[in-house]
Symmetry: D2
Subunit: 342 residues, 4 copies
């Protein structure tokens, strides 16, 4: 039976990506789309690539009748989400794509986001949305917190290794290469084509990137002790894609074996043959994650490289995968289209 | 009932694009994939973006058992196709993506391609594959000749206008902007990232581009008199997409009306509101064509701008659309996924 | 003897490009740099690529002591220039890079820019800055109006042909492909890397682009009768460069001869061998213009293609070339560095 | 007095970059250019961006009269250089840009390059070309071996720290992001625009990249004990630029102090304020190196990030800087032009 969904914040990239993915999903019907600044406009004028679709116009959130809605995707800016979700019907199932509900600990939230959480009850209730690791809880959850896109990439590379004790927990370095759509549709000089194309640079250096809050929370939980990784992302002139290069201490073969075994039954997580490395080119526009493991000339050192599309598996694809679980559809429904290459 | 297909020449971009599209098509099963130089390899090693699919390995054409095959896509290099198709079973239905069967007139073929056609009988039999204009013939055809990607873009902009007598036939200028994948996977210095990115230039100038043969054939047929347009393509640093800017003499409003009426029932052809122009960004990876019409400050002059994805609607998407017709599926099956943006 | 210059509006792309070019010029000393919103900052923090240079900090215009300044470059936004230049010392020589003084006719200014000119006296005084055609007047001028970058490209392709009567004046079509830096450092969604890379689209369609005012003024003056060309620019995902494709009626050989003869003594204007077309790749970052001429299969039709760098020859390089003339330096001083390739 | 130079292998990117840089150098005259496969052609046809220059045509090496040549740049493919240089006049001063003379130890050469060196005497004689560290020896050398571009970047980040004992020598990780021109003009599928743009991937993984031979040689020499770093490069869709992210153990403030002090008198090496990171955008086309140092939330950990242009400071700019030393010119002559931005 068709489920009706609403997308709050449909005028940003993750909102549009949800529409793109749901377009080929047989079980979901888009009943409402909101966009505060662009209310009144059609999606086809905000995103002409969706021009061929028959979609509801953008409205303000307060104009939405949530009565018949089965699930709401909340693709609002960080900090806005917590205020809005508090006002939604208490029985409405919600998948939040912002950063607002990723951290369970109020103190950690305040540390990384600079102010106290406005909806601490919801914060406790929210289930962390990394599908392959929180499947059952997500299926039952009322509120799911989509992960950070960088955080997702790093966790796919590292969680099984931490769980299996296959790597030195004190020596984890994560060097990320990130596509520019991760910054959203925000108007900043360094995101202009003229300033972004043809070059690369690090950002959020020195252990300051907020996704470290997620890594700390999840890795420490898995390890049963505090784990603090080193992590720096770099902006790369590509629109979609994250490549995580994890520099690790451990036995490369064992690392490969642990990842291969853990992910062998997963539809979207592919561990490449030992020594083969992934490319973001090969996952663009898709929900797949490619993971490679290589050794080093120095014994006991290894590199795990994971690639995914930040807007799909790192955000809206993940959200749809979770929505499938919550609504009783096949988890992969609408998500198996191959990447776009070239 | 599932139809079995073969893709001859699956190691090039149009072959891989066929696989990408068919992956989400419920009615086709890929029974054989060929690649002469890469025979023996898996598609996942030739195109790692297809790694997650369960596909037959690449073989040589002579290794294919065509007995159970319902339809073959022939994505071989120009001139190779005519030799290969001659050797296929006489009742095998074939969609050729090369240039070999686009021109019906042997003299025209020799003029544009520099040598006599090697399979003149097949040349006579082939149906020109511009779906929306040869629908019935394609449905019944044994051999369909996929159009040139530039030729398709120009024809979508111009055919209804020529048919309706809405433009001056002697003053048609087509200035094209083409993505680099149109050149295929060929190893040429000017196609290297270092030489192609961040710049643009014309090519095949002076009325020498082979797709002029198609324009001449089709437009003259429509007009009932010889029509020779001016046409120059420009390479633009984008992987997919063709933008055709047609500079025309005629009444812009009438032109808009003619195109709107002609295409209103078409699934893939969208005429934008008068005065709005399309972008290749908005059709990337999809089978859609966006067409805009604008007037000029000089009365009696107009511009029609058409945008499509050369690998999809300009080539492999068109081929799949034709295959749907030939096999009795819904014409749009497997082709309605939205473009990839951003 | 060293001349002291000021750059008003040094925090935009054309201002920074002036600094880049002047850095290797032996005769100019940068005495003042202004930037209203970034006053107080060093150029090295606004433009880190200039970090190695010893430059004055950005100040507000009113803080500049113009006493010792020989020449001011005014790289302010359109409409701001006319207000600011009116307040500068009356004997200060000025090169304006905005659109404010390009049109001599007050009515034409109002038509294209939507409001009356605020400094009509200066408007009358200003000399149009297309160096190779206004050399003597520029050398003597107090106020020089830098041309539009699109307008410069089109004029290099067409002026000698109009002057020589080598083309049909009523049938001139100019299809431009423009790099994104032409839009300046303005924060617009369509200029974001995520929305601009990998695609192309027309803009300012239908004979509405303001540079038409310049074409009309100059071409009509040359022809001694009104000339109205058709002109549409297209945004191309490259940071620098304009490629002008002019579709013309005339004899291609004669056209090539006229351009070759007219430009043979020019340092920066290179006419390629007949039938060869230029690429923006080959002029990037330089003051050179490459111009190609090709015929068409239809006799009496020709294409002229001109390529230049919008920030250099189309704007700041042109300004420096004019400054050389005004200050008595060799016209090419500081401007002969080759393009950057790849 | 003008010095005459020859460029052997002028049809590749480093050869063309030498011509570009020498074009603005007052002391060098290009007397001969060679290119085996393109002998007989003009440089303007091989590299149209050099069309405006008056240059000798490409010839074969054996056609060059070395009598009047003061210095030869050898920009030939790896392994070719050693054979060619052996045949040059014994008193001709040579700067080799290939990998052939970078390693002093014959065994190391054989290990990293897979076969014995063909000119072991020259190998002993060659001086390693990292200007700022071998200045005196370079000035006197007959044969200078240009460094690897990745090797140069990493050494600028690390040499002073190793020398000063400011970092843990056993825990050096170098994660590089490299522009595509580093691969030269070689025709490979993964270097095509269609396959390279819009994505990133690692290459030469697992401690196999040949520039490790240089790191081992130089760092071990500096440390007085074997030093083996971990190093993996990643291809990034940009034409020029290398960004080296070094993950280190040491005190970030001390690291910043050591680098600042060591480089304060250098023209081309700029250490940014503590906590600021460089971008390849800001060094493109120039001979400058920008180096940033940041701490981490984990005490005792630091990141050094260095950015340079692989074709300029990483290769041909370095070569010209060395040539200046060898010929008695100011070391920075012809190399102070600012980067190209945007």
């Amino acid at each position: 039976m068709t489920k009706k969904i609403a997308i709050l914040g449909a005028s940003g990239y993750t909102g549009a990506e949800l529409v793109r993915l749901i377009a080929t999903h047989p079980g979901f019907e888009i009943a409402a789309l909101t966009g505060e600044r662009k209310a009144g406009q059609g999606m086809g004028s905000v995103f002409p690539f969706l021009r061929h679709m028959d979609l509801p116009d953008l409205v303000r959130i307060e104009e939405v009748d949530f009565a018949g809605i089965d699930l709401a995707f909340c693709a609002l800016p960080h900090a806005t989400s917590q205020a809005v979700i508090s006002t939604l019907p208490a029985d409405l199932r919600v998948i939040d794509l912002s950063a607002d509900f990723r951290l369970r600990d109020p103190a950690a939230y305040e540390k990384w986001y600079g102010k106290p959480h406005a909806a601490p009850d919801l914060q406790q209730e929210a289930v962390y949305g990394l599908t392959e690791f929180y499947r059952d809880a997500i299926a039952r959850a009322r509120l799911v917190a989509g992960t950070g896109c960088n955080a997702a990439t790093g966790q796919y590379a590292l969680r099984p290794l931490i769980e299996a004790g296959a790597i030195d927990l004190d020596e984890i370095i994560l060097d990320l290469k990130c596509g520019v759509s991760g910054a959203g549709r925000s108007l900043k000089e360094n995101l202009l084509h003229a300033e972004m194309s043809e070059g690369t640079q690090p950002y959020a250096v020195g252990g300051t990137h907020r996704h470290l809050g997620e890594f700390d929370q999840e890795f420490s939980l898995l390890a049963g002790r505090p784990v603090e990784i080193q992590f720096t992302p770099h902006l790369v002139p590509m629109n979609r894609g994250i490549l995580a290069t994890a520099w690790l201490r451990g036995d490369a073969s064992q690392i490969h074996a642990v990842l291969s075994e853990r992910y062998c039954a997963e539809s979207f997580l592919h561990v490449l043959p030992f020594g083969t490395v992934p490319s973001t080119h090969d996952v663009r526009g898709s929900n797949f994650v490619h993971i490679g493991v290589v050794g080093d000339r120095r014994p006991g050192r290894a590199m795990v490289v994971a690639a995914l599309d930040n807007l799909t598996k790192g955000s809206s694809g993940q959200a749809l995968q979770n929505a499938n679980l919550m609504m009783g559809f096949d988890e992969a429904e609408g998500l198996l289209a191959p990447p776009l290459f070239p």
